[in-house]
């Protein structure tokens, strides 16, 4: 079914594309090529080094008669299979009616509001941990109703596993006293995953972001409905601040705290940490996440991020460096170091027979934009 949906969308796109030859002549291609060398350290004597490459390719088609077509594909070498693979990030058609914007096809659906972790997103999954999981790109129909310049209602029907199981979403957004406010509802369909039946689930959430004096502040509150009990509550509070040095440079800080039930944690952190959250699922987990970004000069910056579980003291420290070498070329260095005992949330795990988690990772690479 998923295949038919993609074929349908593709056919629609090609008909539209070729029917509008004048527009076709103005189509541009752009994107980003990434070449990285990554290394993973399990023990002192056990390390894995492998090259990684990816290409983001996008067609820039000029809008015509309130219509917009977007197409973006992500090609990458899959480290697990060693083969080149691809994923459509965008392949959609949007029409802007007077009081409605309708988007049909493969599209990004993100309900980010400025936090690093988001317990009330349409698709739960950390933005920080792994940007390219593809989870935010969905086959979907989105109806966006603007009310005024800052208020809107969005209704979404997504088809993550074909037409039979529909994932529903509803989001209202407005601004009140300088605060960006959202109210969200998501209904996840029943899912068969590795012979396990995941039942229908629902959640509602609110988020707010604004300023308090010189600080930016934000928060979110999510309620995850459960069939047999009262449901789970998750909340996030955070803030950001810029400090300007005498020499003109500045350092940007962001700090946030997330409280969430262990059962829901894996969906927030992504599958990488799933092996660690099996025990005592009713326990509430407190995560603290901090980031500092220092601008060395106009072209280079260093950043340091850390995420820690307050329950077991385990921590991941993620330092990074970025330097823009020219108009189109930038150099990136990112590392991750894991601290904690073997049975902790973020601690390394190198025991035989269990899912291995490394002591550290490093990635060095170049990004070319065109």
């Amino acid at each position: 079914m998923k295949k038919y949906f993609s074929i349908l969308i593709l056919t629609m796109m090609f008909i539209l594309l070729f029917a509008t030859t004048t527009i076709f002549s103005k189509v541009e291609i752009g994107g980003e090529l990434n070449m990285n060398l990554s290394g993973v350290l399990f023990r002192e004597s056990e390390a894995l080094v492998y090259p990684q490459g990816s290409l983001d390719l996008e067609l820039y088609i000029p809008p015509f008669d309130n219509n917009l077509i977007k197409s973006a594909v992500y090609l990458y070498n899959n480290p697990t299979t060693g083969q080149f693979d691809f994923m459509f990030k965008k392949l959609y058609f949007k029409h802007k009616f007077d009081k409605l914007q309708l988007t049909v096809g493969r599209q990004p659906i993100s309900w980010s509001f400025g936090s690093m972790l988001n317990p009330v997103d349409f698709t739960l999954g950390s933005v920080v941990m792994d940007e390219e999981t593809g989870s935010k790109y969905q086959n979907a129909i989105e109806a966006y109703f603007p009310i005024n310049w800052n208020s809107s209602i969005t209704a979404i029907a997504a088809f993550p596993n074909g037409f039979e199981n529909v994932k529903w979403g509803l989001r209202g957004r407005t601004m009140l006293e300088g605060y960006d406010l959202t109210l969200n509802y998501v209904r996840e369909p029943e899912e068969n995953s590795a012979e396990t039946m995941i039942p229908v689930s629902q959640r509602i959430g609110i988020s707010a972001k604004g300023d308090l004096g010189p600080f930016g502040i934000y928060g979110a509150l999510g309620y995850y409905f459960e069939d047999n009990d009262d449901g789970d509550l998750a909340y996030l509070i955070g803030g950001d601040y810029s400090y300007f040095f005498e020499a003109g440079n500045n350092i940007y800080f962001q700090l946030e705290y997330l409280s969430i039930k262990k059962d829901n944690l894996s969906s927030i952190l992504g599958p990488f940490f799933a092996g660690n959250v099996t025990n005592n699922l009713n326990e509430n987990i407190g995560l603290i996440l901090g980031m500092a970004n220092y601008e060395i000069d106009e072209f280079s910056q260093i950043n340091l991020m850390a995420i820690s579980s307050l329950n077991d003291g385990s921590i991941i420290v993620i330092p990074g460096y970025r330097n823009q070498l020219s108009n189109n070329l930038s150099f990136n260095l990112s590392t991750a170091i894991y601290f904690g005992k073997e049975d902790t949330l973020f601690g390394p795990n190198v025991s035989e027979g269990t899912q291995k988690r490394p002591k550290g990772m490093i990635s060095i690479g170049l990004t070319y934009s065109f």
Binding site: G30, D56, Y60, K89, Q101, Q107, P108, S110, S112, F113, G114, K136, Y144, P146, N148, W149, N150, S152, R173, M175, G178, D180, K209, G210, D211, P214, F215, G216, D240, Y241, S242, F244, E246, A247, G248, N249, N250, Y252, E295, D297, E298, F299, Q324, S326, N327, N328, S330, S369, F370
Partner: protein, 251 residues
């Protein structure tokens, strides 16, 4: 002969009187009048422009290009260079919103970030997107008159009005006496420290007004760095639909 001498004398007196009157008129222009004339020349109801920012640090240089729409209170800018293509900013009065093209997210940017360099340049978001009239923000006075690059200028000092939120507490402006356009400006912190200096490289008369089409912003706190802002195309007072400066238009 006596009659001729009389006419000559009257002529000389008239000329002196006329010249004096001219000087008095010029000298007697108040700081507010000068700034208002500058505001009237440089500020507009609406404008649409294409521009490029050349960021230079030592021997390294990168260029960013953008298109922008602006009215008296709001601005919408979209970057068009390959690295930032599709990144958009919407400024509605004191609020800044950013559109990230990859995930198509619209995020409200915290107020403190308005003072950060826009896309790594020496221009802050506030510098580029500030659309308020200067007389609404500062109290000005004339501190001297001098020539700058061969152009006679008024030199005005502006101090931020009490209770008004501004990026720079004090600004000293060199304003061309004939064309009423700022040729140079020094921007100071409340401590008295010079933060930035903006100097105009090229002026053109477009649609009956003098426009600075090439200017350089130097961050005085950093060494060997500046950003050149070049307007490659500008239209004044185009009709901008009401919903342009809205979140729906960022998508």
């Amino acid at each position: 002969m006596r009659k001729v001498k009389g006419f000559l004398l009257i002529g000389i007196i008239m000329s002196i009187l006329f010249s004096s009157l001219m000087v008095i008129t010029a000298v007697e222009m108040t700081a507010e009048e000068i700034i208002n004339k500058r505001d009237n020349n440089e500020y507009f109801d609406t404008a649409q422009m294409e521009a490029e920012m050349i960021i230079v640090s030592g021997s390294r240089k990168i260029t960013k290009t953008m298109v922008a729409l602006t009215d008296k209170k709001n601005s919408l800018a979209e970057f068009t260079n390959s690295q930032d293509r599709g990144t958009k900013f919407l400024k509605r009065e004191d609020d800044l919103w950013m559109f990230f093209p990859d995930a198509e997210e619209i995020i409200k940017i915290s107020g403190h970030m308005l003072n950060q360099g826009m896309m790594g340049s020496d221009f802050s978001y506030q510098d580029v997107m500030e659309s308020d009239k200067l007389t609404d923000l500062y109290d000005f006075k004339i501190i001297k008159e001098e020539e700058l690059d061969g152009r006679p200028c008024y030199v005005l000092e502006g101090i931020a009005r009490e209770g008004v939120k501004v990026s720079y507490y004090r600004r000293v402006s060199w304003i061309d006496k004939e064309r009423f356009i700022g040729l140079k400006e020094e921007l100071y912190a409340q401590s008295g420290r010079l933060l930035k200096e903006i100097k105009v490289n090229k002026i053109e008369e477009i649609e009956g007004r003098w426009v600075s089409i090439d200017s350089v912003m130097e961050n005085k706190l950093r060494k060997d760095t500046y950003t050149e802002f070049i307007i490659t195309q500008i239209n004044f007072n185009p009709e901008i639909p009401e919903e342009t400066f809205s979140l729906q238009n960022l998508r």
